[in-house]
């Protein structure tokens, strides 16, 4: 019932509501009216019967007293004028029926003994018992019965009237509400139609028409406001979408251009790389050739100049001997220079090959002493060599490590006069592991702080004049520095002008090395880093001021 009602259209709902309200109100009114009518009818008939009973009792008193049944019947017969009374009787003092009356078409009642005085509504009948009293003495009872037929027929009549009124008023309510419901349903239906139109056609410019100023009017206004907002948002969204599309297209074009450019650049780079590799190969080939081509004639010059000098000394031609010695020295110097240049070139070209071994520190010290002793003597220097751990081992390329160490020692001897040159080996534990330190200390001229930076650059001595004075290619420290780094170590400098310098080679301590770490170190060294990378790595532990000019 409720579900069916819920699914009805607004029109029908409104009509139904009006009709139901009308019917319920009418039913209530009719019921109330009927109930009131029944109650008042009962009251009136009750009163009437009591009155009749009173009258009969008065009139029949003498007849009862004088036992005159006929007179009593005559009295009762007067009830013919009262159609409401169905039957009546008069009982005598002993409760026996004295006289009886029955309405014309009724059957005579089978009377029982009288009940107590009063009125009784029972079995659709109203019964009244009224005493007959003469001079204060109760001589009998008058009995009256009304069968309430009248009230029933009246009820039927009322029901008929109520039904008629109900039918007519329902009809009127139907007609009136059918007309009036449009006031409410029309705007709603219009709104619903507009909403379906909008959702079907996706056209947000459609507006509902406002016809009233009540809540429905407000609803329509709000709906239109909402539609306006939706429309404006829709347009904004469309615009944004268009813009986005355009932007995406622009960006795509830009990207395509950019990609093309990058591709070109990549091609260029590739070509450049190929060219660079080509030229590198050419350079390596050139260096290898040059190494051979330069040394061959130079060896001839050195060899022959030596032979000539020996001959000259043997023949006593002393004036040639000095010149020939100069040629011989110059040749040797040139050979050393060429070797240095070639070494540096190899390092920078990444062609330097190292042969890492583990060997005794003591051997190195002995060799260093033998080699450096003559050099020290030249400037009247005292050579001191010592070690914290004479039995220690070192992991390095023996030839190259000795080259580095000798370079430092020869520099020390070269820039020190009448002083001492000390080589000492010690160990230091840092957070990066155990390090072996080869310190070469002198008491020479020292290096100014500003010049320390230049020390390890190629072809650099502290000043040009020193080159002339002390000789050297200016490549020795640069080469040593790079070689040490290739072997996993590095060189630091501490110096004070006029007091002397300390050059220290730091190498990872070989004693703590395991086989694998040795291997990894070897492989790392054998990678032969590019010289730029190696030299560019200026951050070193224990890094101190670098100083002292290059000593070739």
């Amino acid at each position: 019932m409720t579900a069916t009602f819920r699914n009805l259209s607004i029109r029908r709902k409104l009509v139904t509501i009006a009709m139901v309200s009308c019917t319920v109100a009418l039913l209530l009114a009719a019921s109330a009216f009927t109930v009131y009518e029944v109650i008042s009818f009962r009251r009136s008939i009750n009163h009437e019967l009591v009155t009749i009973g009173q009258m009969l009792a008065d009139n029949s008193g003498a007849a009862v007293a004088f036992n005159d049944a006929r007179a009593a019947r005559d009295t009762l017969a007067s009830l013919r004028a009262e159609p409401r009374v169905a039957s009546a009787a008069i009982y005598d003092q002993k409760g026996k029926v004295f006289a009886q009356y029955t309405r014309a078409e009724e059957k005579p009642e089978n009377l029982k003994a009288p009940e107590a005085d009063g009125t009784y509504f029972r079995e659709g009948n109203l019964r009244v018992y009224h005493p007959v009293i003469i001079d204060g003495e109760r001589v009998g009872v008058v009995y009256l019965k009304s069968d309430l037929k009248e009230i029933n027929s009246r009820l039927l009549q009322y029901s008929g009237i109520a039904l008629g009124v109900l039918a007519v008023s329902a009809l009127v309510a139907l007609i009136v509400s059918s007309k009036l419901q449009r006031v409410i349903s029309k705007p709603i239906l219009h709104l619903a139609e507009t909403a379906s139109l909008v959702s079907m056609e996706k056209d947000y410019s459609i507006r509902a028409q406002k016809s009233t100023n009540d809540e429905l009017g407000i609803l329509v206004s709000r709906f239109n406001d909402m539609m306006a907002q939706v429309q404006s948002r829709d347009m904004a969204l469309q615009t944004a979408q268009d813009e986005l599309e355009a932007r995406v297209q622009d960006r795509t074009k830009e990207l395509q251009v950019e990609i093309a450019e990058r591709r070109r650049a990549q091609d260029d780079l590739l070509q450049a790389k190929q060219a660079a590799e080509e030229s590198n190969r050419a350079k390596s080939a050139f260096l290898a050739n040059m190494s051979h081509e330069l040394r061959t004639p130079l060896n001839a010059i050195i060899g022959y100049s030596e032979m000539l000098q020996e001959d000259a000394e043997a023949t006593g031609e002393v004036q040639f001997s000095a010149d020939l010695r100069k040629i011989h020295h110059a040749g040797r110097h040139l050979l050393a220079l060429i070797n240095d240049v070639l070494d540096l070139s190899k390092i920078e070209a990444g062609k330097m090959q190292l042969h890492m071994e583990t060997f005794a520190v003591a051997d190195v010290l002995r060799d260093a002493e033998i080699t450096t002793e003559p050099l020290a003597r030249i400037n009247n220097n005292r050579l001191v060599i010592g070690s914290d751990a004479p039995g220690g081992m070192i992991h390095a390329d023996p030839v190259r490590f000795k080259q580095c160490l000798l370079n430092l020692l020869s520099n020390a001897c070269k820039f020190t006069e009448n002083g001492s040159v000390t080589l000492s080996v010690s160990y230091a534990d840092t957070n990066r592991g155990r390090w072996q330190r080869w310190a070469v200390a002198d008491t020479g001229i020292g290096i100014a702080p500003g010049d320390v930076k230049k020390l390890f650059q190629s072809f650099s001595q502290v000043d040009n004049s020193s080159t002339r004075k002390y000789q050297g290619t200016g490549l020795g420290l640069a080469i040593s520095d790079r070689l040490c780094r290739l072997m996993g170590g590095y060189i630091t400098v501490e110096s004070q002008v006029g007091k002397g310098s300390v050059f220290t080679i730091h190498m990872p301590a070989a004693a703590g090395f395991t086989a694998s770490s040795l291997q990894s170190l070897s492989s790392k060294v054998l990678e032969l880093k590019k010289p730029e990378e190696v030299s560019g790595d200026s951050a070193r532990p224990d890094s101190a001021q670098q100083g002292e000019p290059d000593h070739a």
Binding site: N59, G61, A62, A63, A65, F66, N67, D68, A71, I134, D135, E137
Partner: protein
């Protein structure tokens, strides 16, 4: 006077006999009549002062031979009239009766009716009798039998003469009412 008395004594059995035969005087009839005698008190209004001072009894007298036996006493037992007790007085001669309010004249007094009525010719006495034509001879209420039921006739003139007011409701039950002018009706 003595002769009249003697005659009466002689005739008494005859009357009794005739009454029994002709009038069918049954026990129930006696009771009805006794009740009626009492009931008359309710429909008759006595002149003021006739009932005596308040609390004085209403007296029902029976003159002549008593036909009721105990029925009359039973009829009035525990009953009142006008709020007064009821007294019953019986005498063979009317002269012996004083202060009667209702006087029943026995059928035995038929021969001496006119003397009897004269003797009590005073206001305030309702005379009742079974004697035939009692009302025509100056009596007020006379019992008659109609369809074997006890009914009564009323002489309204006599009642007026005795200054008694008889209720219309009682008159309605009367079989016959004698009244000057109307001459009587049925």
């Amino acid at each position: 006077m003595a002769a009249a008395l003697a005659l009466r004594l002689v005739l008494a059995p005859v009357v009794l006999c005739s009454s029994t035969v002709l009038g069918a005087e049954t026990a129930s009839e006696r009771e009805v009549k006794a009740a009626m005698l009492y009931n008359f008190t309710k429909f008759v209004e006595w002149p003021s002062g006739a009932l005596g001072e308040s609390g004085a009894p209403v007296t029902i007298c029976v003159a002549g031979r008593d036909p009721f036996g105990p029925a009359l006493e039973q009829a009035v037992a525990d009953r009142t009239a006008y709020g007064r007790p009821i007294r019953i007085a019986k005498a063979s001669r009317v002269e012996e009766l004083k202060g009667c309010h209702i006087l029943y004249v026995s059928i035995s007094e038929r021969k001496y009716l006119s003397e009897t009525l004269e003797a009590i010719a005073q206001p305030g006495v309702l005379t009742v009798s079974d004697i035939e034509d009692f009302t025509h001879q100056g009596g007020i209420v006379g019992f008659v039998l109609r369809d074997s039921k006890v009914r009564f006739e009323v002489n309204l003139d006599a009642a007026e003469k005795a200054r008694l007011k008889i209720s219309a409701r009682l008159l309605k039950l009367a079989t016959e009412i004698h009244h000057s002018g109307s001459g009587g009706r049925n």
